[in-house]
Amino acid sequence: MQARAYAAPPTLDDALALLAEHGADARVLAGGTDLIIQVRENRRDVGVMVDVKAIRELTEFTFLADGSLRIGAATPCARIYGDSQVARRFPAIIDSASLIGGVQIQSRASLGGNLCNSSPAADSIPTLIALGAIAEIRSKRQEREVLVEAFCTGPGQNVLAADELLVALRIPAPAAHSGAAFQRFIPRNEMDISVTNAAANVTLSADGQTFTAARIAIGAVAPTPLLVPAAGAALVGQPVGEAAIEAAAAASRAAARPITDMRGSADQRRHLAGVLTARVLRTAIERARAS
């Protein structure tokens, strides 16, 4: 079923008015790399396509005064990973943004679109969760903020009401002596959907020897990407080293509730949740010590 109408509202207020008017019949179009295919393959009915890429607020990113990064929800991945300041301050975002699809996808696909598509295997959501990112949501009725770890509610499902728009993602400034990283496992080098993925964000003591804070998130092992509080708890207060890393990996394996499908078995995914947790932790530690 093809869309009946297409609109490219020039302002946020215009977009919110369209969503309020058309409700569930409307769908927000960002990069279209998921949505256009879903509509073409009759996996989703959309009456009105609301293209938000003419709205400046949704297609720009800015560093705020407190050092946090605000990314307009429809900003293409290629614009984000092409920025040297983002690369220096938020390398885990680059890890994710530079491996979603090939370049043709990256020039259109956005972190906001990846979040709203709410795939359990999404490659940017574990990173956003580990970094403590906040979703800024607007509708004509209200304005609210939701932590990314609470955004997805099931495969392809999330907290957005029919009239709500994800405007931006706000990523808190990195703490001193912190580092973060994302990795995924796929059977080839590029252009595939994660069998399992993981992100870590650690803060170390000033001497780099002790974990003082840690957030671990894993993907493609449950109906939604998961924050694993037990993995973070296994690290905090512990000396930086393989014993603590293995404890966190065990916590990720225990938190994983994977299914078996064409991409991998439940056992393989549970195993990978541990392996990838350990690997992203090692990279995050290196980055924290170099920061």
Binding site: A8, S107, E190
Partner: protein
């Protein structure tokens, strides 16, 4: 009943106007309505790159863009790569290396390689292989394609140095 939208865009340097259905893909508009059949439909779901075009300087899959989205934008398609009867250095290199068999993927590879080499004239083999990860060829095994792109890069650098 859907109302078509009036779209004004620039394709290969020429101003073009057409009517687009709201849900029509850019690829369908190019091929079915504008007679630009050089961009190919391979997978029609964003995996194969056969429909690659350059939209406001960015390499995209035309199957994953809605035709109404190109209103006011600049497009380059495979038809705009050659300079009249003179083949682009990448096209000449593909010919000489026989970097194609059935040819369906070739326009996409050439447009994708052009987008890379215009931004990064010194891209090395590793960079080229990763850049072309979104372009699939089911005939050649890729080696001839990569060699043609490397050779095309040499020719493009030589042409730049000579001008």
């Amino acid at each position: 009943m859907t109302d078509k939208l009036h779209i004004q865009t620039t394709i290969n340097g020429e101003e073009v106007e057409f009517l687009a259905a709201p849900g029509q893909s850019l690829l369908a508009a190019l091929r079915d309505d504008l007679g630009l059949t050089g961009s190919k439909e391979g997978c029609n779901n964003g995996n194969c790159g056969a429909c690659n075009v350059i939209l406001d300087g960015a390499l995209v899959n035309a199957c994953c863009v809605l035709a109404p989205e190109v209103n006011g934008k600049q497009l380059v398609t495979i038809e705009g790569v050659a300079d009249g009867a003179n083949l682009h250095p990448l096209q000449q290199a593909f010919l000489e290396h026989a970097a194609l068999q059935c040819g369906i993927c070739t326009p996409g590879f050439i447009v994708a390689a052009k987008a890379l080499l215009e931004a990064e004239p010194n891209a090395d083999e590793d960079r080229i292989r990763h850049w072309l990860a979104g372009n699939l060829c089911r005939c050649t095994g890729y080696d001839k394609i990569v060699r043609a792109v490397l050779d095309g890069a040499d020719r493009m650098r030589a042409a730049t140095a000579a001008s």
